[in-house]
């Protein structure tokens, strides 16, 4: 099994500062900054985010996981100072490399970058992407502007050059609209809306031609669900047929671009209760698009196991590890 979404974070800002330029220690102390808490989860599924290789090793042993890709969301809570945000990103990547990857060979990592400085982000992808254990670039699914915008091109170009995938993970920086209609009144709306924001990002990536410009680029949608994909793609194709001349660089059906370039993790899944219906959803989505994930430590409920046991053996093998092995070019 390849687990494509396991969370990690340093146990404190102090730990992170050991991996950062000394200037930032005084900056943090003067500004009384704390490490942002990425735990935007309801109390019953929050859990403790692993902070060490030892904890991750125990987790992999417990679950029988062959390979796990760790994602650190701590940057989401960092404010908008572009130099500080970029320094934290570099620090987190160096912390993951030294404290996690070097200590547990079954780990791969998501490189953290800040979109407050696109050139610095691209440079960081080039720097950390030299290490083949970093397999993707982690971006929050909530963005300043949609991810099809060409301002992100330097990040995509660097990721393509280094052979990294782009990951869009649920949540994002405070201040970025958590829903597709803006700032919501309740946490409940925030929480549910990651799935909708992800859908708009897929529309943007295809419509603005990111996959036309970067044909080797792959995008993984993490922790935003997947059962919503079939009706989205049906509508995307249908309307493209009538208004294609607005976007003539899309030379195949939008659904084909999504199916070629995009993958989605399985937790949470938004699945129906009966195994028969689960199998139908997976068939409609396409089992080749799904990447197994535990989303540890977030407990979305016991739906993961029924997902694999509801589909045939070939689909279960694809979802459990083969899709991730092919997408990330990793061997379990």
């Amino acid at each position: 099994v390849i687990d494509c979404d396991v969370h990690c974070q340093p146990d404190s800002l102090d730990t992170l500062l050991d991996h950062m330029d000394p200037y930032w220690r005084s900056y943090v102390e003067d500004a009384t900054i704390a490490l942002g808490d990425p735990g935007s989860y309801p109390p019953h599924l929050r859990g403790d985010v692993p902070t060490s290789a030892a904890q991750l090793t125990a987790l992999l042993d417990r679950d029988g996981t062959d390979l796990a890709i760790v994602s650190c969301l701590a940057l989401d809570g960092v404010h908008r100072h572009p130099d500080y945000a970029s320094a934290v990103a570099r620090g987190l990547n160096d912390w993951m490399r030294a404290e996690l990857l070097d200590r547990e060979p079954r780990l791969r990592a998501s490189a953290v970058v800040s979109t407050t400085d696109i050139e610095a982000a691209a440079a960081e992808v080039e720097r950390i992407g030299e290490d083949p254990r970093f397999v993707q670039v982690l971006l929050p699914v909530r963005s300043d502007v949609p991810y099809g915008n060409r301002l992100y091109n330097p990040i995509y170009a660097a990721a393509e050059r280094r052979g990294l995938r782009i990951a869009l993970h649920a949540w994002g920086r405070p201040g970025n609209a958590p829903t597709t209609t803006g700032i919501a009144a309740t946490y409940l709306e925030d929480y549910v809306s990651n799935a909708h924001v992800a859908q708009n990002q897929l529309l943007s990536l295809v419509a603005e031609g990111v996959f036309t410009r970067f044909p080797q680029l792959g995008v993984a949608v993490l922790e935003c669900g997947f059962a919503w994909l079939p009706p989205l793609l049906w509508r995307f194709d249908k309307d493209w047929k009538g208004v294609w001349r607005e976007v003539p660089w899309i030379k195949r059906r939008p659904s084909e671009q999504v199916r070629e370039h995009v993958r989605l993790t399985t937790a949470p899944g938004h699945l129906p209760p009966s195994p028969k219906e689960v199998a139908e959803v997976v068939e409609m989505v396409g089992p080749d698009l799904l990447l197994w994930s535990s989303d540890h430590p977030h407990e979305h409920g016991p739906a993961g196991a029924p997902l694999l046991s509801s589909v045939d053996a070939q689909a279960a093998a694809a979802i459990g590890s083969a899709n991730a092995a092919a997408f990330y070019q990793v061997a379990a």
């Binding site: 044909p215 660089w249 030379k251 195949r252």
Partner: protein, 132 residues
């Protein structure tokens, strides 16, 4: 059956005429010095195809890098915007899929599933005539 449309001098470039041939409604289009006749019924869901707009082919080498042909060669059904080639009636929904790899810029016009009926149309002694 021959349907006389009108004298050429009364049929300006870019214009169209809808004529009736028995039960069939037919759109006759003038593009430059060429005339086209195509059935005024979209094979998709029966929409009035020939009331739709004419458009040239659009191609793009990359995002934002769009080229338009000089003259229109497609008519778009007003119901769903699906486009048909005036000359052949062949449907084209969006630019074709590339026949080679996806990132090659060469565009092959892969046809859609529908073909609208087309008819020979010519000018006889300065009168536009459709052969049905």
């Amino acid at each position: 059956m021959r349907v006389v449309v009108c004298p050429v001098r009364e049929f300006p470039d870019g214009d169209r005429r809808i004529v009736q041939a028995g039960a069939r409604s037919i759109g006759v289009f003038r593009v430059g010095d060429r005339f086209y006749a195509i059935r005024n019924r979209c094979p998709h869901q029966g929409g009035p195809l020939c009331l739709g707009r004419l458009a040239p082919w659009a191609t793009a080498d990359g995002p934002g890098d769009v080229h338009l042909d000089e003259t229109p060669s497609l008519v778009a059904c007003p119901w769903h915007g699906w486009e048909y080639e005036l000359e052949t009636g062949q449907s084209f929904m969006g630019p074709g899929e590339t026949r080679v790899k996806a990132y090659e810029v060469t565009v092959e016009r892969v046809p859609g599933p529908y073909v609208a009926e087309t008819y020979p149309v010519h000018v006889e002694e300065d009168v536009v005539v459709v052969e049905v």
